[in-house]
Structures are given as structure tokens and as C-alpha cells.
């Protein structure tokens, strides 16, 4: 039985408020951004700004400092490092907790999830403190074993590595959460049967457990990738994209152009690039996921 009150209009009455909220504050802003990416609008001049076609995109792609390939490279290293690190750590931890008693598992899970609820700004300051040349824990520990202090955040290679580690810290919890949920749904009999057949633990993991949680693994991979692309707060409060744009990602470039240079048109163009990259990833995920589903049903 379906509710008869208000007849066919009922669901739409219920949906009116949430849909309005999403249309006005998510869909409309994106639509405006696509429009403004083809104009020469600035913060002071939003209305009747001249059309420049693809001019903004050309300016960004050919910009010298920072060069677009450079920004794209930093973004890729940062996202790739986050993906590999948090997927590896999160999955390995989920597997380790899987074989513990349920009570021990839930206590440990709660501790590992602490970084997941912390503000990205606070995570940024926490890790900036860790890497501080004078009072950071990293150099203090190095000093104990007699290694010279390292200026972590002012050198390109160490800065990117340090930031990737901080972002893995921030994002492995969500992978752990997804993978733990998936592992809890693997039928115990499947694992026991492998054990009865005399398979080693490594074989059980490789042949039974991992294949049965593939969809969750893909989902975790997408979430980790998006959270790599998404990082803004963490880099903004640690290096600010510096030194000299060396740790600047697409998100930071978008913010810098829009605010410091008040160039809405170019800022919108970088946003469109970032948006399209994320959308491509999401579509790729949906396609892979559909194919996986077909395999299993």
C-alpha cells in the first residue's frame, strides 16, 4: 500500500525543500562557474564582463609560474601517493583487525578513526609542528640518532613526501572503515573452508578474501583518489603551495587565482578542469563497478 494523502504530489512536496537546497547551492553554482570560465570577470566586475571564449584556459595552460604541467605533476604525485599509501595501510589494517576478537577490534577501530573526524586545518598544523625545523618531533628524533636536522617543508622532494605522509594519516581511516565493513560481510564459512583445505593464510587472503571484497576495494580506491584531489586545507596551512609554487596543486592554484588575483574568470576555468577530472574518475568508477557487478551476479 502506498500513502494516499496528497495523492501523487506527496513525494514532490517532501522533495521540494531538499531539491531546492541542492539546486540553488550545488547545481546553480557549478553552472555559473562553467559560464564564468569563458568570461573575463573579476571580483569587482561580475556582471556584463566580456566573453573571452577559451582564453582563460589558454592562459592557464601556457602560464609560466607555476607551469601547468608542473601543477598537474604535483597534483598527480600527491593524489597517487595518497591513494597507494592509504589504500595499502587501510586494507592491511582492516585485514589485521578482521582476525581479532570483536571487542578488541571495535576499540582499535575507534582509535584508528580519530584522524577521520579531525579538522583538516588542525591536521595541517599538527603535521607542520611535527616537521618544524626547531621544535618538530621529526628532527628531534633524527637528532637522537645523530642525523643532521632536515628542513622538511622548504625543499620540493621532502615537502611533497612529508605532505603525502600527512595526507595518508588523514585519509587511511576512511579506507579502513570501508574495508572493515566489507570484511564483516565475507561469509566465515568461505574462509573456514579454505582453512580446512589446508590453505596458508596468505593464500586465503589472496584467493578468497580479497576477491570477495573487490567492489569495496574499488570504492575505497575512488574515495582515496578523490580525497587526494580534494586536499586544500592541509597544504594551505603547511606550505601554502610554496616554496615558489613547488607544492601547488590544482586546488591551491584555483584558490590563489580566485582570491589573491581576484580573477574570477581564470579561477572558474581551473575549477572546471578540477571538476572534470573528478567527474571522469567517478564515471570510470561507475563503469568498472557495473562490470564487476555483472561478473558476480
Amino acid at each position: 500500500m502506498r500513502r494516499k494523502s496528497f495523492g501523487r504530489a506527496a513525494p514532490w512536496l517532501l522533495l521540494a525543500l531538499p531539491l531546492m537546497l541542492l539546486l540553488i547551492f550545488i547545481v546553480l553554482p557549478y553552472a555559473m562557474t562553467f559560464y564564468y570560465s569563458t568570461t573575463a570577470a573579476t571580483f569587482g566586475r561580475l556582471t556584463d564582463s566580456p566573453q573571452v571564449g577559451l582564453g582563460n584556459f589558454k592562459t592557464i595552460l601556457s602560464s609560466g609560474a607555476p607551469s601547468f604541467p608542473g601543477v598537474l605533476l604535483v597534483t598527480t604525485i600527491f593524489t597517487g601517493g595518497t591513494l597507494v599509501g592509504s589504500l595499502g595501510l587501510g586494507t592491511a589494517l582492516a585485514l589485521s583487525l578482521h582476525t581479532l576478537s570483536p571487542s578488541g577490534r571495535s576499540i582499535l577501530l575507534a582509535i584508528y578513526l580519530i584522524p577521520w573526524v579531525i579538522a583538516a586545518v588542525v591536521i595541517g598544523y599538527t603535521w607542520r609542528l611535527m616537521y618544524d625545523p626547531q621544535i618538530g618531533l621529526a628532527n628531534t628524533l633524527l637528532d637522537f640518532v645523530g642525523i643532521e636536522p632536515i628542513s622538511w617543508l622548504t625543499n620540493r622532494a621532502t615537502a611533497i613526501a612529508a605532505l603525502v605522509l600527512a595526507n595518508i594519516w588523514a585519509s587511511y581511516g576512511i579506507v579502513l572503515l570501508i574495508m572493515s565493513g566489507a570484511l564483516a560481510n565475507v561469509p566465515p564459512n568461505l574462509i573456514l573452508s579454505g582453512q580446512v583445505d589446508g590453505a596458508s593464510y596468505a593464500r586465503i587472503v589472496g584467493r578468497i578474501i580479497l576477491p570477495s571484497i573487490r567492489p569495496a576495494f574499488l570504492l575505497a580506491g575512488l574515495v582515496a583518489t578523490v580525497s587526494g584531489l580534494n586536499v586544500f586545507d592541509l597544504i594551505y596551512v603547511t606550505t601554502g603551495g610554496g616554496p615558489v609554487y613547488q607544492t601547488e596543486t590544482l586546488a591551491l592554484e584555483m584558490f590563489r587565482i580566485t582570491t589573491r588575483r581576484s580573477n574570477i574568470g581564470e579561477g572558474a576555468a581551473v575549477t572546471v578542469i578540477l571538476f572534470s577530472l573528478s567527474l571522469l574518475l567517478a564515471i570510470a568508477y561507475v563503469i568498472i563497478w557495473r562490470r564487476e557487478q555483472r561478473k558476480w551476479t
Binding site: A10, L15, P18, T126, I135, T154, V237, G240, G267, T271
Partner: protein
Amino acid sequence: MDLVRFTRWQRVARAAFIVAALIFTLLPLSWLISIAIRPSGTAVFPITLLPSTVTLDNLREVLVGSDRLGFTPFVNAALYGTSSAVITMIASILGGYALARYNVRAGESILTVILALSFLPAVSRIVPIFILFSYSGLYGTQLGVILAYAAGATPLGIWLMAGAFRQIPIRLEQAAHIDGAGVVLTARRIILPLAIPGILVVATLAFIDGWNAFSLPLILLPNQNVQPYTVALQKYVGDIGFGINWPLLAAGSLLGLIPVLTLFALLQRRLVRVGGLGGAIKG
């Protein structure tokens, strides 16, 4: 019977890995706390691993001292987080119920679009919201920030609430209907009480998102009196690598941590249970 039989070495390796991950997780936070509770003169090079004396002076200085942030930035963050949680809750209950209970022909596609929206990286919304608000006059207003947070948290909220409502047997509603209960009474007495666990999770996630938000208020709120603590903390940061007041910055960060950690400790079981599905989308 154990799920998997391990050799002794496998047990040792597992324990070592779990402990190493615990250290990795807790060490940075311990260092932050250890700097926040040192007398400010002792947080200098060469630094000791453990503080020699423990003090709450830095926390006091952040809240009421001469170099204070004051209570206002924390009150602001709480106001934005709570308001956004209330709006998100209402929108998610309405939307989730409509998608769970009615055979809307467009329902499936609406749900898919909502799911896709929750996958979009939050950072890609900063500039679009900035453009919309500059255009419409919401720029610099507290209402604008609250609505922007709520819109960000609503897709996941609707998705979670639709799941929560599907778990409530429709027969309960039918029974109430037959007994003569109207729509409002059924909602108040039957549906909402049963959906409370889901509603709590949606509200908590929205509050945490709002309390933690940085990039949106950074770009949308130029007026210092209405900025949340995340933006106000920058007061203690000078130019890069130079002039950071670490004891106060650490103490201020700690004050920002305490509410979310308390909430998480209280609700972690519920958050973890739905988090497996929902947190996934949070990204």
C-alpha cells in the same frame, strides 16, 4: 573456532603491525598536546621529548589572555555547525522518506544524481559558491555559510536517511493508518522515533563537517567577528617558517579538537556502523 589459524610468527607480525599503526596514529597528536601544555618559554630549540612542567596557561591565554582568540570563534563554529546540522537533518528526513516510501518514477535517477553529487570533491565547490554569493549578496553573511555547509552535507544525509527509512517495516505505518492516525501523528509517534539512530548520525556528521570547515569560511567571511576558529587560528601563524606562536597555535588546535573527539567517543559505534556505507561517500 578461530576464523584463521595463525603460526606464532604470524601473530607476532600482526601485533607488531597493529602497534606500529597505533603509534603512527597517536604520535602526531601526542606531540601537539605536549607542546600545548608546555610553559611557552620551554617550547624552543633544543626541545625535550617530554615537558618538564605541565601548565594550562596556553589554553587560558587562547581563551581570555591578552593574545587571545577569545570564545567568539569557537561559538561561531558551533553556531554554523549546529545550524547546518538542523537544516541538513530536516532536508534529509524529507528527501530520504520520499525516496524510501514512494514509487517516484524519477526517484531512482534522483538518487543516482544525489550519489554522484556526494562524490564531487568539496574543494571544487569553493569557487562556485564564492561566485554565487558575490552575485547574490550572500557574500560575508553567516546565513550564506550555513546554507552552503548544509547543501554540502545533504546529499549524504538523504542517502543515509533513505536507507534508515527502508529498514522500518511499512506495516507499522499501515497499522497506524488503519487505527485512524493522521500523517503528522504517524510521523511523530512511529516513523521519527524509529529513525532516531539514523537521524543522529546524519546530524553528527553534518555538525562535524561544519565545525571543521575551513576553506568556505576562509573565502566567504572577511569579517573577523564572524570567522570560525579554523580561520581565526591563522592569527598565530606568521610568514612561512617564521614567527609561529606554537604553544598558542597548539593550544587553539586542541580546543578545536575537543568537541569533535567527545562527540565521536559518544557516538562512535553508530558512526562506524553506518560509516561503512555512508562515510565512504563523505570523501
